[in-house]
């Protein structure tokens, strides 16, 4: 039976030694044999119970669903996921089935309603959790234990369950019950202190990036949990804290922290500006802005882009020392700015890239949707939704050649799959569902 045979341990471990049908790796919960029938999606044999709401949790389960996992999204019967109340909405008219945020985050999931505050609801939940590989939740840490649904309880029902708990500050610690918003996670866990200009307040990142990023980390963590379950028969509780995953992120964050530990170096806010005549940062052009970075080595390419070979021999710009002289900055600007202001950002970018200058357009959302590269790639897709109609939304985050991303179904309507799941999976009759509805359990 799947799960009882373990992969034999080997030295120098290369899993490729086993090239054939890996029966032992299939899920005992893969009732429909989807693992074989739907071998064209990467995660077809994984079943996920999705208790998440808003952004971080749903983005985690969206990644799993978009690459083939069977994700059952549980929403409260009154109103559902709060994200349904966040816009943008078509014509700015709020409607729980038309939220762009909800439609983007919940592709490929089936949806049921469930009220965990009723004992009938909790019984249904316990029945469901026995038949899944993964449970993902992003409640504040007190909630699941308070409902009698702590990991220890669920482990007894399903020993190989991977329970992925996503929270702002983790399941333990002095800040455990602290509230957070995206801006706070960025301030505490991200390099906000180094974002913006020295003369002003620190600046947050766009939108809800901290939460989306946590969702991606959680999807990775869930997969690690699945490997532990499938390869080693180990189920467990995973505790992912937005605060920690951001503090430990490998980019400027981990670099600044280590620079401080090594040499007492602290991060600061600085605007990106030119170095003498070497242009760096954001510059205005005819229809907006461009972003550029030029080093000494690349000066000839810049001269070529501007069709000004004289800049190579002009004593103000001919040598690295001359270029870095701050007095020569206005003289170069007097050449550069007018050139930029006569051309559109797209035109400048194309000329720059042809000359191998590191310059790109600063695109607005409108520019992005019209961008010829993303159009050629077919990045944005149109998803047909029964209530919202045809919705343009982002497509694949990455392209797998053998198991491509796809939208097999749009975001679910509230309670859309109650009969399919409670009837089909748990074998409940219609009468029983009516009773449960009357009890307020679903």
């Amino acid at each position: 039976m799947a799960g009882t045979s373990r992969y034999p341990s080997r030295t120098g471990g290369v899993l490729t030694a086993v090239a054939h049908h890996h029966e032992w790796y299939l899920s005992p919960f893969d009732r429909n044999g989807r693992g074989n029938a739907m071998a064209d999606t990467a995660l077809a044999d994984i079943t996920v119970l999705d208790l998440t709401h808003h952004i971080a949790g749903p983005y985690c389960t969206k990644l799993l669903a978009d690459f083939g996992a069977d994700v059952i999204k549980i929403e409260r019967p009154d109103g559902g996921d709060p994200a349904r109340r966040y816009g943008p909405f078509p014509h700015d008219e709020p409607h729980p089935e038309k939220s762009a945020l909800f439609l983007h985050l919940n592709t490929n999931k089936r949806g049921v309603t469930l009220n965990l505050k009723t004992s009938a609801g909790r019984d249904l939940f316990k029945a469901l959790v026995q038949g899944v590989d993964v449970l993902v939740e992003n409640f504040s840490p007190r909630v699941m234990p308070h409902l009698g649904l702590a990991y220890e309880t669920l482990e007894a029902l399903n020993p190989r369950l991977v329970m992925m708990s996503i929270s702002n500050f983790g399941q333990t610690g002095p800040y455990r019950d602290y509230r957070a918003q995206d801006i706070l996670i960025y301030a505490m866990g991200g390099p906000m202190r180094a974002t913006g200009v020295a003369e002003r307040e620190p600046l947050k990142m766009a939108g809800n990036l901290m939460q989306y990023q946590a969702g991606t980390m959680a999807a990775t963590a869930a997969m690690v949990g699945i490997f532990a379950a499938r390869l080693h028969g180990i189920g467990q509780h995973i505790d992912l804290s937005l605060f920690e995953t951001h503090v430990g992120t490998v980019d400027r964050r981990s670099t600044y922290l280590t620079a401080y530990a090594y040499a007492g170096e602290e991060s600061t806010r600085q605007s990106q500006g030119p170095q003498g005549a070497l242009p760096r940062g954001i510059y205005p052009c005819l229809d907006g802005y461009i972003c550029i970075y030029v080093t000494d080595e690349w000066w000839p390419r810049l001269a070529h882009m501007l069709e000004r070979p004289d800049l190579l021999t002009d004593p103000r710009f001919a040598t690295p020392l001359a270029r870095r002289n701050p007095e020569h900055q206005p003289e170069f600007d007097a050449i550069f700015y007018p050139w930029l202001l006569e051309r559109t950002k797209q035109e400048i970018m194309e000329r720059a890239q042809a000359a191998r200058v590191l310059l790109t357009a600063v695109n607005t959302p409108e520019d992005v949707l019209h961008d010829r590269h993303f159009q050629a790639r077919g990045f944005f897709v149109e998803v047909e939704h029964p209530v919202a109609g045809c919705v343009t939304q982002p497509g694949a985050p990455f392209r797998m050649t053998a198991t491509p991303w796809s939208v097999r179904r749009p975001a679910p309507r509230l309670g859309q799959h109650n009969e399919e799941i409670y009837g089909g999976r748990l074998g409940l009759s219609r009468e029983e569902l009516v009773v449960l509805r009357e009890q307020g359990a679903i």
């Binding site: 790796y25 490997f227 940062g281």
Partner: protein, 439 residues
């Protein structure tokens, strides 16, 4: 100790800078055998530092973290001591080989045949120039999983476009959406989110592909277009344009709906606190927490919609209050009332933070050439297959013996020859300026 989940998986790590190494770090931490493929000839820019051998005087002049070697001393092997590299290189192995020569390519192909995954994040031309594309490598190893992380994708008009992370983010709309709304767009600092998004996303992609291969035996190529992955994270913002013809602008530190929501000045130099009040119930608690001063009862602040409209006045009042306090005082008081608030953290704050201490997040690690320091630890906690930093940041060529003797099974004579030819070693041989191969 117990098993780690990803034991038995071998990953060839041909990554640079941050995005690629972040992905492989997540996998190495949980038990995958990650082998960095590096060379003694080629010093990729901004990976093991900015320059291979800066002298101490130069290190002291370099701004920011560029020269932040331990005690600002580059040491005899600066490439093993840089803060850009050491935090992500833990739990990994490292070997050296010169891929520009046929012998090096031959050795690399042998190594590919013994590995499950190859991941690289060079520009789109790089692997093509080396003749090491998926088409070639999958002939050596049909079930190989290979991931490339090009800025814009392995197809399309921008395939060969060049830029730093901030350039790619500009094309995606992130730069436009992060600006002081009342300021000049040209004064926005360059800050990056792409490396974070790409690193986490690529680790997920690799595990998805490995999971599929476990079931079916099939490998594949993954085109991880960093720009496209990144745009997922501003999905709802971009959707406003096709949905409503509205091209959104930056809100700065403000929120589409919540007020107050911002970054306020505190006592002390360059000290700031975040305050975000989600709804009317929180607003009531906020009023109590700040001692019910008369101004909170102003009709302009009575409900969410009005607070939103009169944010400028609201922010001015709040700033006058926050300026009298330290950020931690404010955090304790407001969090005690169930309101999102906290300091804009500095590095010192994080290393001494009581919550991170209680969670054991930072780990003290002794590195043979960089000394003993605290490092950010493991990114999530697993109750039964806990991970730790088991090995410090890998030094250049540190595992050459293991790779060449045990994996590739070369003889002593062959290894000696490769050492003499400059494939195998632990000291960078190239000139003192980095080879800008990716330009």
């Amino acid at each position: 100790m117990g098993k780690l989940p990803l034991e038995g998986i071998r990953i060839l790590d041909f990554t640079v800078v941050w995005a690629g190494p972040f992905a492989t770090m997540l996998l190495a931490d949980f038990g995958a055998e990650v082998i960095r493929v590096e060379s003694l000839q080629y010093f990729p820019s901004v990976t093991r530092g900015l320059l291979p051998r800066p002298d101490a005087a130069l290190a002291r002049q370099l701004a920011g973290y560029a020269g932040a070697y331990p005690e600002r001393d580059p040491g005899s092997r600066p490439w093993n001591r840089h803060p850009m590299f050491n935090p992500h290189a833990r739990n990994k192995l490292g070997m050296t080989v010169d891929l520009s020569r046929p012998k090096g390519r031959e050795l690399f192909l042998k190594l590919v045949r013994l590995s499950d995954v190859l991941v690289e994040n060079h520009s789109a031309r790089f692997m093509e120039n080396l003749g090491l594309t998926y088409d070639v490598l999958s002939q050596s190893k049909p079930d190989l999983i290979m991931v490339s992380m090009p800025a814009f994708g392995m197809s399309g008009p921008y395939k060969y476009y060049q830029g730093f992370g901030v350039n790619v983010e500009s094309v995606c709309g992130l730069t436009w959406l992060r600006a002081y709304p009342d300021g000049d767009a040209t004064e926005t600092s360059s800050t990056l989110h792409m490396d974070a998004a790409s690193g986490a996303g690529t680790a997920f992609a690799i595990l998805a592909a490995l999971h599929y291969r476990q079931r079916t035996g099939k490998g594949q190529f993954i085109d991880f277009a960093q720009a496209e992955n990144l745009m997922q994270q501003i999905g709802e913002i971009l959707m406003d344009y096709p949905m409503n013809g509205r091209s959104q602008r930056s809100l700065g530190n403000r929120h589409p709906v919540m007020a107050p929501h911002g970054c306020y000045p505190c006592r002390g130099h360059d000290r700031w606190v975040i305050i975000a009040v989600a709804d009317d119930a929180e607003w009531e608690r906020f009023c109590q927490a700040v001692g019910n001063p008369p101004w909170v009862r102003d009709a302009r602040f009575a409900d969410s919609a009005n607070r939103y409209r009169h944010q400028d006045a609201l922010d001015a009042h709040i700033a006058a209050w926050t300026q009298q306090h330290h950020p931690w005082e404010i955090m304790e008081r407001l969090q005690g009332a169930g309101i999102a608030s906290g300091p804009v953290m500095r590095e010192t704050d994080l290393f001494t933070d009581p919550h991170l201490k209680a969670r054991g997040f930072f780990q003290i690690v002794t590195h043979p050439e960089a000394g003993t320091h605290p490092y950010p630890g493991i990114m999530w906690q697993m109750s039964k297959t806990a991970a730790t930093i088991r090995r410090p940041a890998v030094r250049l060529g540190e595992d050459n013996d293991y790779v060449y003797r045990e994996l590739l099974k070369l003889s002593e004579a062959e290894i000696a020859a490769l050492r003499a030819e400059g494939h195998i070693g632990m000291d960078f041989l190239g000139k003192d300026t980095p080879h800008a191969h990716d330009s």
